[in-house]
Amino acid sequence: MPFTGDITDSGFFGSEGGDGAEALDPAVIELVDRLQARAPAGREGLIRVLLALQQTFDRVSWRVQELVADRFGLSPAQVAGVVSYYPQLSSERRGRLKFDVCTGTACFLCGGEGVLGQVTRAADERRPVDGKPSLAVRQQRCLAVCGLGPVVRVEDRAHTVTEAGAAEGLVEDLLGPSLQPEDEF
């Protein structure tokens, strides 16, 4: 269950230029401790904690990785090794607005690969200058509505995008004036 309180994982170093000396928000520390207490004991709980943090902050920043490493008795490199290995974990923000493109076999046969390219291009064109993405375009192995392909899922709703330009249209709808990236970040 993602944490929904008003906390941030700011104060990290690395990708956003900090020097690493900043302290983490105490609420983040409390959250990590709470997640660890709920997860399976020992190192078996590591990936579950990381997934929950990814869901909460849209990334697992280097600083948070250090904290997690400390709590699990691991080195930061060991945690970084896990974060960098799994596609659903990332030390960089991916965009809070999720846009899933089905890349399952059935959707591929209906043109899903082209849809992925269209959506990625459309999202890139709207990326703000500070490099923070507004839209997370995610490849999903199957969205479970085979037969309607090619399919995308936007905020838990599935859409068929057989018409040329339909996928770009959905991106356009999402990133209209009421949802500017600066409002999100």
């Binding site: 399976p40 078996e44 709980g45 290995y85 799994y86 974990l89 076999t105 479970a144 392909g149």
Partner: protein, 544 residues
Amino acid sequence: MTIATSVPRAGVRDPVKISICGGSGCVALGALEVIDALKRGADDAGTPLEIDSRSCVVGCRGFCSQGPLVYFPGLDVLYCRVGREDVDEILQSTFGQLETVERLLFSDPSSGRRYRGLADNPFFANQDRQVLARCGVVDPEDVDHAVSLGAYDALKRALTDLDPDKIIDLVKRSGLQERGGAGFPVGLKWAVVAETPGEIRYVVGNGEAGDPGPTSDRTLLEGDPHGIIEGMAIAGFAVGAREGRLFLRSEHPLAVARAEGAVAQARKRGFLGSQIFGSTFDFSIEICENAGASMGGEETSLLNALQGGRGVARPRPPFPAVSGLWGRPTLINGLETLANIPLIVLPERLGADVRPARTKVVSVSGAVSRPGVAEVPLGTSLAEIVVELAGGSAGDDVLGVHLGGPGGVSLSRSQLDTTIDFGSLRTYEANLGSGSLVVLGADSCPVALARFLVAFCAEESCGTCPPCRIGTRAVLTLLDRISSGEAEASDLHRLERLCRHIRQTSLCELGRNAAGSVIASLQNFRTSYESHLSGRGCTTGACG
């Protein structure tokens, strides 16, 4: 959602029951909004609805492309692609006057014919639903409902009437083979785990099919999670394990949530925990989510992921049955395999003269008019599945079938008489894998499909062994050359030779099966590959 109207009407004694599919597909297509609209519409019309089940959903019926599905069990009427705007008409016609809303019945895209319910719909009528029997019937979020439909009866029998040796013997005699992968005999695997010395043993339910296509695991988890939990607990009793891990895809959050809820409810009801059914047997299950790298569901990479590490393959031997999770003997079975176990222990549930472990859950997609997840008897031919169940064709408008996901094989149209069973498929060096079956239309390109599947495997490769790490990339490069029309005849020989080498030398099944898939594609669609050579390129346009 099971709803019963309390309004008496002439000639109708029983309330009209309705169930709404709450699987991932139907939810993504708006099922929850339909449920809300139905409740509100009923209130507005002054027709209070009594919800007679704790939560508001039934699990996935497998007919996902037609969702949201609304079904009236008493009338055998199935409405497809129902939207909020249809709710008033449903309330007035079907609830109010028991009349069918014709336009909401399933209309077969190929024939235009409409089907009223499940009994006359070939997608359902051609199935033999054993492990899927409760999917679409039971409320997956209500353990009491599951118990009323027979859940945990087999566990009770196992713990009170049988001993571990007898259960392993039952599984051996049933002939159950692992439902994913190469079909290893399940009873034999159980016996190895049980006989390996050690105080601690584990049972792992492998819910990572490693297939970029529809999966039976998701359907089972969303539809009947208690069947899997019961199978795991029986397995734990049989092999002497007190702890289980259910390894699931985090990309399927609804399935994970249902599994978590079901485990919590089972624990509360005493079906998990200490002294289950008054016996000395203790068993617990932890849900573990995978963060995306599946390695094709490969067992040893799964173990590393469970231990909180990178999901990379381990050399074998030792096999997980001897040295698995944390070096302990570990039984790893797929979810469909585990869901078969209660039926083996308590075959009476299937009725007289019905033998358990004789079916396979398949997910059919591609060039068919009735795609979905279905359960068919072992021995059913691919043609029967494609034509009779899924409404496809076996004629010129079908190129063939790809079976078994990224490590599976593409079979040509002339091979559609192949039957779904482990022996027949071995003839083509194929395995059932995840049970996915993708029908290739005449405009499909086998080269493009092979390239797509190898790209998936190359991306999934853990990088431990060079044949897989480097080899799959090299295969991809060759397939790119073929796709773009730059290849020559000698490239086909190089491709085949390279794939045979990868198949012989890869550390695990991911590399072996990826290479085997290309070899089969080359053998069965040689003409198509040759037509791409020397500047001719792809005639279908699929290679881009």
